[in-house]
């Protein structure tokens, strides 16, 4: 914090001290009286003082330590996330009732709210249920009651069709509670799992979330991470060192960047907590309250019939020269505003939320700047989860296609590219939300099936530069002989596939936006029945 600048902390030392002293004073005053002996007025006095001390979390030391690490406390997080005065807390007076290690004897004010604030409130005017782990008391460890609170809040969120937000900041299991704590996690994981796809479940890991605890975030829909604060791993550096002798730091092992860029566990990467909170609000704006609803409509002021003549020149003359697909997306969506999903992971496939004519849409597009837009193992994992999320929450999918073939390499083959790309293509086929395709350039081989008519795209639009065939000219000639020009001259004109309705219409790139906006309107009430099944057996 720079000199002279006002502190951003609101739960200051003075704030906490005042509450603690008030509580001490009241406790002292009535120490000889039992609860039934108090008058109504006295009961109120005790209640107010106790509420105050419970809200001050784990006490001055814990609060200071949180601030020293540059982290907000849960009370500050609630203030930053929720519209002022809208958060309603549930279970502030909860405490452990576990017998082991005399946990039940730990005073109420030592672990206020059993280490987790739970409740509901409005975020940008829309109701959201939330639970925030409090690292300042007992390291935010999870005991049975702590888990029960989560379960209670999550159940209510599903009943009321509201998203769930979990802010993880916890040292893990409360070991003193033994198998009760373990059962608490079991409950939590079960809850996360059965509500998966019912209501959006968002998790921000702003602090430690290690060991088995991290499976709860992993079972939710997405994970927000913060540089320098997120610690997510199953086995920590100490155990890894002890067992394998590998030296690795926490940040390198399980920080925000490595999880978002390499392991693919993280979904959103933020440089600090403020950015993270902005991202949470941004994502929520695109999602409905539950799978039963459509995402909210937002007036964006960008006309639906705005044409985009600049797209006429974006496709290079050469088939293999990269072009900026993000520029295409930016040009087409409302106000050029789109929000990327797993931006740092598998950059060869772009996944993003945006609005078109005010309606929330999910965009999936090959990125010719990375791997020539070829599909690989990681893009399979990324894209399939994104499209399944869009489908689960009634967000239409728009694909911008420039598909070359599968990424080549031994590691891809032995790593199982077959099953990973199958998963991606299955996710597209399975989605029953409106699906709209814009083929910008190449549509070669199996990767071009994302967005194809056969896989259920409702409208396939192709720019005049679209070239559709079973294989790229290069590999086709390797199989059937002849020269590339001869092969291409048979198939490269989009009128060839358009003749058989593989393409619904060849369009002027300048009309892309107005045509998508019109289609979204037309497909608003789309409904499809799938054959009876309990669920799919998707590739792993």
């Amino acid at each position: 914090m720079a000199e002279g600048k006002e502190s951003k902390w609101t739960t200051t030392e003075e704030w906490a001290t005042e509450r603690e002293e008030k509580y001490k004073e009241v406790t002292e005053k009535y120490k000889d009286k039992k609860w039934p002996e108090l008058t109504t007025e006295e009961k109120y006095e005790v209640f107010q003082a106790r509420k105050g001390v419970l809200e001050r979390m784990g006490g001055i030391r814990g609060i200071n330590r949180q601030h020293e690490r540059g982290k907000y406390t849960i009370r500050e997080r609630i203030d930053l996330l929720f519209d002022p005065g809208t958060f309603v807390e549930i279970g502030l007076h909860c405490k452990s009732s576990c017998l082991h290690y005399d946990m039940y004897k730990v005073p109420l004010e030592d672990i206020p709210a059993d280490g987790i604030a739970a409740g509901y409130g409005l975020i940008e005017g829309r109701p959201v249920y939330a639970f925030l782990q409090d690292f300042t008391c007992w390291g935010g460890t999870l005991g049975k009651t702590h888990a029960d609170k989560i379960k209670r809040v999550a159940g209510e969120a599903v009943q009321n069709s509201c998203p769930i937000l979990y802010i993880a900041d916890s040292g893990g299991a409360r070991i003193q509670e033994g198998t009760d704590s373990l059962a608490g996690y079991g409950d939590l994981f079960y809850t996360n799992s059965i509500y998966s796809g019912c209501v959006p479940q968002l998790c921000a890991i702003i602090g430690p979330c290690a060991g088995g605890a991290v499976y709860s975030p992993a079972l939710m829909d997405c994970i927000f991470t913060v540089e320098g604060e997120t610690e997510m791993f199953i086995t920590g550096p100490i155990v890894i060192k002890a067992i394998l002798g590998q030296e690795v730091g926490k940040e390198e092992l399980g920080g925000a960047r490595v999880n978002c860029e390499r392991s693919g566990n993280g979904t959103f990467y933020a440089r600090d907590e403020d950015e993270c909170i902005w991202q949470i609000k941004k994502l929520l704006s695109f999602l409905p309250g539950s799978a039963k609803e459509k995402p909210p409509y937002v007036e964006t002021g960008d006309p639906a019939d705005r044409t985009t003549p600049e797209l006429r020149k974006i496709i290079p003359d050469s088939l293999t020269e990269p072009f900026d697909m993000k520029k295409v997306i930016e040009t087409v969506v409302d106000n050029g505003d789109f929000f990327e999903w797993q931006e740092l992971f598998a950059p060869n496939l772009i996944c993003a939320f945006a609005r078109m004519n005010g309606a929330s849409v999910g965009i999936i597009a090959q990125n010719p700047m990375h791997l020539n837009g070829a599909l690989d193992i990681n893009s399979g994992d990324k894209g399939s989860r994104f499209m399944r999320l869009c489908d689960a929450y009634n967000v239409p999918i728009i694909s911008f296609v420039d598909a070359s073939e599968y990424a080549a390499g031994k590691d891809q083959e032995v790593g199982g590219i077959i099953r990973h790309v199958a998963k991606l293509i299955q996710a597209y086929a399975e989605a029953i939300v409106p699906k709209i395709t814009v083929i910008t350039r190449k549509a070669f081989g199996a990767p071009a099936l994302i967005g194809s008519k056969d896989l259920g795209s409702d409208l396939v639009l192709a720019w005049p530069t679209c070239e559709m065939a079973a294989a790229s000219p290069e590999s086709a000639v390797a199989t059937i002989g002849g020269d590339e020009l001869d092969y291409r001259s048979r198939f490269s004109d989009p009128a060839v596939p358009a003749a058989k309705l593989y393409i619904d219409e060849i369009i002027d790139a300048a009309d892309t936006r107005p045509l998508i906006c019109k289609a979204l309107k037309m497909f608003e009430k789309k409904e499809i029945d799938l054959p009876y099944k309990k669920h799919n057996v998707k590739p792993h």
Binding site: E177, G186, F189, G212, V258, A446, M468, S475, F491
Partner: protein, 525 residues
């Protein structure tokens, strides 16, 4: 010489005769030379394969007279018997199976539009009547000359495979080459049979890989049955020969229902459900770290010791298998203490979660035999995403609505125990053997955390630690502690495992659970 009769000149009998001749010609497939080439590679032809698979005389072929109708490259002028795929239905051990056998002797078994239409036609029929569908792949790839037509054909197959995924069992046997886009068929099937020295399956061929990354690889390195069964995880069953493959397909089908609407068939096995297993009394070693043979344990409790391994060569630290108990199909998941000390890792989570979802989709009850110490430590596991992969196991157990029975044989620690279907994750009954250790983390680690202050303050911290450790072990590692809170249902004599599991299966057979409304889940990838 008499002028050749046109079809119109023929009488009815002659027309029948003529049609039979045409059909016989089609049955000759791509001709003698091509067939010989197939035999030289120790491969059967498409029609020989179906003869071996189906009960004699039961196969009914559809689309015999199909051929390519694509104008590009004048493909329509070529002779393409059955358009390179034999499709139809018949019975296997008395139960109906629909199938498509690609015929590599005709145009390299390439997939064109009509070829695809034939496959889609039988798939749809299989779904309509609620029967399994088998794809036998032996193809050089998409029929490039058909251009967007063949791509559209593949799209149609993929779309329908997706619709029927989880509706009817879809089996794929790769008996030959399977490259590029065709790999989506094994990729989307419920299980894949690969044949030693015969299967050749990859997204990009060695030449393309060489051109792209300058790596020198052989077909077998990236596409053989060995690499797909042992490393890539694409294959489910590794078989030694085509004959073996046919046998294994039959065996697999015997465990399966026709569709998700049915239960798997009951088979009289003659093994009494109340048979106890005295050999299990002292089966588990006293030391928690000494390995024991879990497969032997499985053999002891299932009907007649007979079980079929699922992905036997992949992620061997977790055993998945189909077996029968009291004549009913069960899916078994069990730790293998002989590999990686039975810990859970990325690959076994992928394997296990898919197996659980497969069982659940087809109403196969799940039995878990647990001896799990934790998750495999290491930077590579973390960076490969053990968090998202491990979560799939948890997810799949929670989602499953079939009967789930968990037997803890020795140990069950922390998150990994939840990952093997604890009570809270949805197990209908959790039975533990008396020596079982069940705790939130390893005892030594736990004591270090809880008693940090006491140990630090003691004169002899090591002695204090040992003392507290003993105390901890006595308090938490006795099965009655979790039993008191219903974290487990019963502590059983190992000898009684089979009778108790059989009883439970009987009791839970009509289990019905409703999950809250959703279009579908969002399990981690």
């Amino acid at each position: 010489m008499a002028e050749k009769k046109t079809f119109d000149d023929m009488g009815t009998l002659e027309k029948i005769e003529h049609m039979k001749k045409l059909e016989a010609k089609i049955h000759e497939m791509g001709g003698k030379k091509a067939i010989k080439r197939q035999h030289d590679m120790e491969k059967y032809t498409a029609r020989e394969r179906l003869e071996k698979l189906y009960d004699p005389g039961t196969f009914v072929e559809t689309g015999v007279f199909c051929k390519s109708v694509t104008p590009h490259y004048d493909v329509f002028k070529e002779d393409t018997p059955a358009d390179a795929v034999v499709t139809g239905y018949g019975t296997v051990n008395g139960r109906i199976l629909y199938s498509a056998f690609q015929d590599i002797t005709v145009m390299g078994g390439t997939l064109g539009k009509i070829h695809a239409d034939k496959i889609v036609r039988v798939m749809k029929e299989a779904n309509n009547v609620g029967c399994p569908m088998l794809y036998v792949i032996d193809s050089e790839g998409l029929r490039v000359k058909e251009g967007p037509d063949s791509l559209s054909g593949l799209g149609d197959i993929v779309y329908n495979m997706t619709l029927f995924s989880g509706a009817i069992p879809q089996l794929c046997a790769v008996m030959g080459s399977c490259t590029g886009g065709i790999t989506l068929i094994p990729g989307l099937a419920d299980c894949v049979f690969t044949v030693d020295k015969i299967t050749k399956m990859y997204a990009n061929d060695p030449a393309t890989i060489k051109a792209a990354t300058d790596e020198e690889v052989e077909d077998e390195d990236i596409g053989g049955a060995g690499v797909h069964s042992g490393t890539s995880g694409v294959s489910t069953f590794f078989v030694k020969s085509e004959d073996d493959c046919i046998e294994q397909i039959k065996r697999f089908l015997s465990f399966m229902p026709g569709s998700a609407k049915e239960k798997p068939p009951h088979v009289e096995t003659g093994d009494p459900p109340d048979r106890t297993s005295p050999e299990l009394a002292s089966f588990v070693p006293d030391s928690p770290t000494r390995p024991f043979n879990m497969k032997k344990l499985i053999g002891t409790i299932v009907d007649n010791g007979d079980f079929m391994d699922w992905q036997d060569r992949y992620a061997r630290n977790l055993i998945c298998a189909l077996a029968r108990m009291d004549g009913n199909t069960v899916g078994i998941l069990a730790q293998n203490p002989m590999v990686l000390a039975a810990s859970l890792d990325v690959n076994c989570s992928d394997k296990g979660s898919r197996f659980i979802r497969f069982c659940d989709a087809y109403n196969i009850p799940i039995l878990n035999l647990v001896d799990v110490p934790g998750y495999l430590p290491g930077t590579d596991q973390e960076w490969m995403g053990i968090i998202r992969h491990g979560a799939k196991m948890l997810y799949s157990y929670a989602e499953a609505t079939v009967p789930e029975i968990t037997v803890v044989t020795r140990k069950a620690y922390g998150g990994s125990y939840l990952g093997m279907c604890s009570k809270d994750m949805g197990a209908d009954i959790v039975m533990v053997w008396p020596g079982c250790e069940m705790a939130v983390m390893g005892p030594a680690g736990a004591v270090n955390v809880i008693e940090r202050k006491a140990i630090k303050a003691a004169e002899d911290p090591n002695a204090k630690r040992a003392e507290l450790l003993k105390e901890y072990r006595n308090l938490f590692l006795i099965a009655t502690t979790p039993a008191a809170n219903l974290n487990l249902d019963s502590v059983i004599d190992p000898v009684e495992t089979r009778p108790l599991v059989c009883k439970a299966l009987k009791l839970f057979k009509d289990k019905d659970v409703k999950l809250p409304y959703k279009k579908h889940e969002l399990m981690p990838e």
